[in-house]
Amino acid sequence: MGGMTTDIKLIDENGRRVDGRTPDEMRPLKIEAGVLKRADGSAYVEWGLNKVLAAVYGPRECHPRHMQNPTRALVQCKYNMAAFSVDDRKRPGPDRRSQEISKITSEALSHVVFTEYFPRASIDVYVEVLQANAGTRCAGLTAASVALADAGVPMRDLVASCAAGKAAGVVMVDLGKEEDNFGEADIPVGYVPRTKEIVLLQMDGDLTHDEYTKGLNMAIKGCEKVYDIQRDALRRRYEARSLDSDIGAPEGVQKEVA
């Protein structure tokens, strides 16, 4: 955690958080699928003050060739923050943090994509953070799942993502920026609701066993809520598409969702 100190009261006398939420209350989450024209699939996520876009290209030929896997597709995510997405301008280009997030996001998505259907191919997922306010890796993974489904990539299920953590001694879900900067712990989780599998899991800070147990469960409960909103977004997208034409309906997970 940030390790910074502050005068901000992260929990008030009524047990409310900086932005008025209760400990188990998530920030408002809006998801829209199919927001970009050029990409094969896309999604926009607005989660509190986070604004995140995800785009999917593929399955397509994997370059460079020596990266190709003869038995399955590679799911390659690139997570990137716009220069203006944070208070202090971020230098364009990948840094170590974004490369780590790209890696664990790729791994989490690979678990649900039927990669074996597309030997030698690459499925490229681009996550762009336009406005950042803590929790961008969860927002990005959430958006990426929807974008994959929007692209008609066959998937076992969606990955839903949400974090929990601790601030001012209180275990809480979905940390905001001040809670992330001045809090005590963060646990980002990527979760496959149907099979109850954890596909992304990190933690940093200081937690007792009980706190951790409580936090992990809160994060998973958060993932389940995210999952519903993801499915809603895809349902709306599917309906909108159906109105447009009766061919071209996306395959894969959407069949379930619709």
Binding site: L36, K37, R38, A39, L49, K51, L53, A55, Y57, R60, K78, N80, A82, A83, F84, S85, V86, D87, D88, R89, P92, G93, P94, D124, Y126, E128, L130, Q131, A132, N133
Partner: protein
């Protein structure tokens, strides 16, 4: 090879339409695509705008920070323009260090804003030779269907018009609106088979022989120009594009805030 076949077929199609005086999206030669401007789109930026010009979608953020002036302009703020052509926006954009295309785009956008004196850099001096405001203009292209030059120019102007100098945060007095002077608007036209069309789509750009971007300010004066591609222009054609730039630029200027 198949790519070239496609390109040829596309060129044939576009050419045939042009002979009939129309374009594949039904526009007239001197007609811009639909323009949508959203300002204050990014809260983490000091000024921002999202511009959708037909299928091209760009987000521009302005960030300001205190820094050192250049030696040869000790009493002026510093303007830095950077365009990121991220792979989310098109299968033709690649990750990695900026290629020649993005460098040209960055520099053409920069030239328009700088030479058109959009910002009064002399009012961004804090202490001569010691401290000035460093202004970053970051262009993030999220969906690409041609004519980045103009979409980014419009977004840059819109972002600047809503930008605030964060003096308070930096301990330099009260915040104040970014000191502006002019609104330099660019107009880009391409030449295909001796026809001149404005605001080209990606398909039109790909088959174009030559490209010309002309930037003008309110009084009709010219402030920047850039010819691109391997084709040529006659002197008359250059003056034709200049006239279009003045006329259509004036229209675009009315669409901008304040």
């Amino acid at each position: 090879m198949s790519k070239d076949v496609m390109a040829e077929l596309k060129k044939d199609h576009i050419s045939k339409l042009l002979t009939k005086g129309t374009r594949s999206d039904g526009r007239g030669f001197e007609e811009m695509r639909e323009l949508k401007i959203t300002t204050d789109y990014i809260k983490s930026a000091e000024g921002s705008a999202r511009v959708q010009l037909g299928g091209t979608d760009v987000v521009v953020g302005v960030k300001l920070m205190v820094g050192k002036p250049f030696d040869d302009t000790p009493d002026k703020g510093v303007l830095t323009t950077n365009a990121e052509l991220i792979p989310m926006a098109s299968e033709t954009f690649e990750s990695g260090p900026p290629d020649k295309e993005s460098i040209e785009i960055s520099r053409v956008i920069d030239r328009g804003i700088r030479e058109g004196h959009a910002v009064d850099l002399s009012k961004l001096c804090i202490e001569k030779g010691v401290e000035v405001w460093i202004m970053f203009l970051d262009v993030h292209v999220v969906d690409f269907d041609g004519n980045l030059f103009d979409a980014a120019n419009i977004a840059a102007n819109a972002a600047l018009k809503t930008a605030v100098v964060p003096a308070k945060r930096a301990g330099k007095g009260e915040d104040y609106p970014l000191p502006l002077m002019h609104t330099p608007i660019s107009l880009t036209a391409v030449k295909i088979d001796d026809k001149i069309l404005v605001d080209p789509t990606h398909d039109e750009e790909r088959v174009a022989d030559a490209r010309l971007t002309v930037t003008t300010i309110e009084n009709g004066n010219l402030c920047a120009m850039q010819k691109g591609l391997e084709g040529s222009f006659s002197i008359e054609e250059v003056f034709k594009v200049i006239e279009m730039s003045r006329r259509l630029g004036a229209e675009t200027r009315t669409r901008l805030p304040g």
